[in-house]
Symmetry: C2
Subunit: 401 residues, 2 copies
């Protein structure tokens, strides 16, 4: 063990800061105006996606709530899944023109991520994309969220992912200034989602948990156990929510699990992976598929490829989470069976299982692998659990055929 | 089911707000001054307990750290376990006289709870005890903590418990204003604790988890699983920490688990119990025993008495946490075996198991039960899981003989 490897073997020093005020439960969205006022907003940009927030009546509730508190607002809709830089620039200009002092994101992870980019860009003299190329986000307009899909965890994180249309690069940034001041989580708002989108969200949450579970830090039982707890919750509640959109309880459990999975309380003090997210981002950037659907195809391939790096870690999740019987003579069989159980679970909730089902093409593999490893900010490798080069990533994409 | 019982059957609406900045890891206490400055302190009261913080050199490190940042300070030591109102009054007077604008608690739960009481009282015109008789805490001086024992969870909560010397009443208050601005958690600082105090802390953390686990709210799988995760962590890491004070990893796991057990992220949206704490508070108020030791005696008695109220809940924790085989024909046998497993665990880490070992006396039972149910703010009953009257509480104390 080298001196510099210390952090790989013992729980690391860390800071944890999650100052978001969470308001959870049925009908809480009617209090949006109250919370905007409490956190200092007087002129608000309401940021949202397509027509569903309008059709469901949610936007009208939000407008009424703001009006009741005497808060002025302007609106910017049109956020698409895998949110684009072009709309971010539009939002930044709008904020400056209208002297916006608070951004209210009404939607899922894409809307919240777009709102975060606008919030940072509106108070920055340079190009907001600098933040997605490595610059630290040190200031941003305050934002609040009204969440409509359990998936990204963006409602409780300082993270944001944006796609640059020129070249279709999908890149992430993070910063404490991007953590929402408040987030309203009403599980009932997710009941209008199609089963497929519900399943995509469940897959994304599971991925956030696996990315943290796959660590090289030893003896971090407390966070291992918390991750397993949230995985077990998703495995029990996920299929219920997909099968019956009227079931409030399963959606409530999933919604809190989705936030806890990504506010990093279960990821502190340990190295993390994020290989699956990095490899998936190239798929959703190129094919505009749902991020969760992409992850369903990517995760089993990545885990199978990396299994030999730490068989016992994959065996641990297989036994504790997937209920696989431990094969003490052949732990690699147990480890592999855990990956198969994940694959069967994802199929059971309607997720794709390979390139064809996702709409991805074999002939793009070289380009995908190159962008993943050498994209505008990367340096030839990817992965926190195993350091993978371009050839490794190509091999992983081939496992998805 | 009555309309008013709604909250007992579905996940409740709730708010969750944990804005404390946690700084975790070895040697982080040398940054205390940095964080005091960051959170606005310029004239600090350092509040601490007995001589151990002095002897270990911890106080000197804190003083140096404050001096390095140019922060002035005064000191008030002498906090005892089961902290008293008399020292709180002294602290309030000192804060006013010295124009203190930040309180830094250096110690365990007793020191932090005492600091919270001083912080609230220093900016309140009336008697601080009003807050411990039901008045809402709406303002307080900012506080920071440097934690030296994993137990109370006060470093990440808005709770405080103080004992009024006149009549020896032990009462609690809570309020968002009491949540620390920052908390420094260095697991190495807990390595100087005697094994007995380490075990008392482990017991207190387990109790915080049981108080939340024992709920009448149905289908709250996400928080059930999170509580179980933290219990399993304590069961694995607790005995290691008690056996070997030099083991950093077990203390690191316990320290994060202790915070997560009580910041309420695993208790939201569900009814909670707090019977064991209420019944224990009378013991530590009267006999000045360690709170954790009292809980070790109280918990098995309370759980045995309440078992019939929800056999399957006690069976669930027995199977999932204590590894008891489910007896499908006699679930009450499984439930009882879970309580026995808890009793054996507590004995194995050196905790007392009955009144005699705790130093409590049978002839005081009537007084204890009466104070618990009719103490200066109570109304004849106690308990969130099962509503218990004075006769019930007497019967529970008798189970501890």
């Amino acid at each position: 063990m080298e001196a510099g490897d210390f952090s790989l073997f013992y729980m690391d020093n860390f800071t944890f800061y999650s100052p978001t005020y969470f308001v959870f439960g049925k009908d809480e969205e009617i209090n949006a105006g109250h919370y905007v006022k409490r956190f200092g907003g007087s002129k608000v940009l309401i940021h949202f996606g397509g027509g569903s927030a309008q059709k469901s009546g949610l936007l009208d509730k939000i407008r009424s709530s703001l009006k009741n508190e005497g808060i002025r607002f302007v609106e910017l809709g049109g956020v698409k899944p895998n949110p684009r830089d072009s709309l971010v620039y539009e939002g930044i200009n709008l904020c400056r023109k209208e002297n916006i002092d608070f951004i209210l994101a009404v939607g899922g992870g894409s809307v919240i991520d777009s709102a975060k980019a606008i919030a940072a860009g509106a108070v920055y003299d340079g190009d907001f994309w600098d933040y997605y190329e490595g610059k630290t986000v040190d200031k941003a307009l305050p934002i609040g969220t009204v969440l409509t899909i359990s998936a990204a965890g963006s409602e409780g994180s300082g993270d944001s992912v944006i796609t640059k249309e020129k070249g279709m690069f999908k890149r992430a940034t993070t910063g404490e200034a991007l953590r929402p001041k408040f987030s309203i989580l009403d599980p009932a708002l997710t009941q209008t989602l199609p089963a497929y989108q519900t399943a995509c969200g469940i897959t994304d949450i599971l991925a956030h948990l696996y990315e943290r579970y796959l660590t090289n830090t030893k003896d971090v039982e407390v966070t291992d156990r918390m991750i397993e707890a949230l995985m077990l919750t998703m495995i029990k509640e996920g299929p219920i929510a997909v099968a019956d959109s009227n079931d409030y309880q399963s959606r409530a459990n999933i919604m809190w699990a989705g936030m806890m999975a990504h506010n990093n309380s279960c990821g502190v003090g340990r190295s993390q992976d994020w290989t699956s997210h990095n490899i998936e981002h190239e798929l959703s950037a190129l094919y505009d598929c749902a991020h969760g659907a992409g992850l369903a195809v990517v995760m089993p391939a990545v885990f199978t490829y990396n299994l030999k790096h730490d068989v016992m870690r994959f065996a641990k999740v297989a036994v504790r989470v997937w209920g696989v019987e431990m094969d003490f003579e052949h732990p690699e069989v147990t480890a592999l069976e855990g990956i198969n159980a994940l694959r069967r679970f994802l199929k059971s909730i309607g997720m794709p299982g390979n390139f064809a089902e996702l709409g991805a093409k074999e002939e793009d593999i070289d380009e995908l692998a190159h962008k993943c490893c050498y994209g505008d900010v990367n340096t030839g490798t990817t992965g926190g659990f195993v350091t993978l080069n371009e050839d490794d990533v190509k091999a992983i994409y081939r496992l998805m055929l």
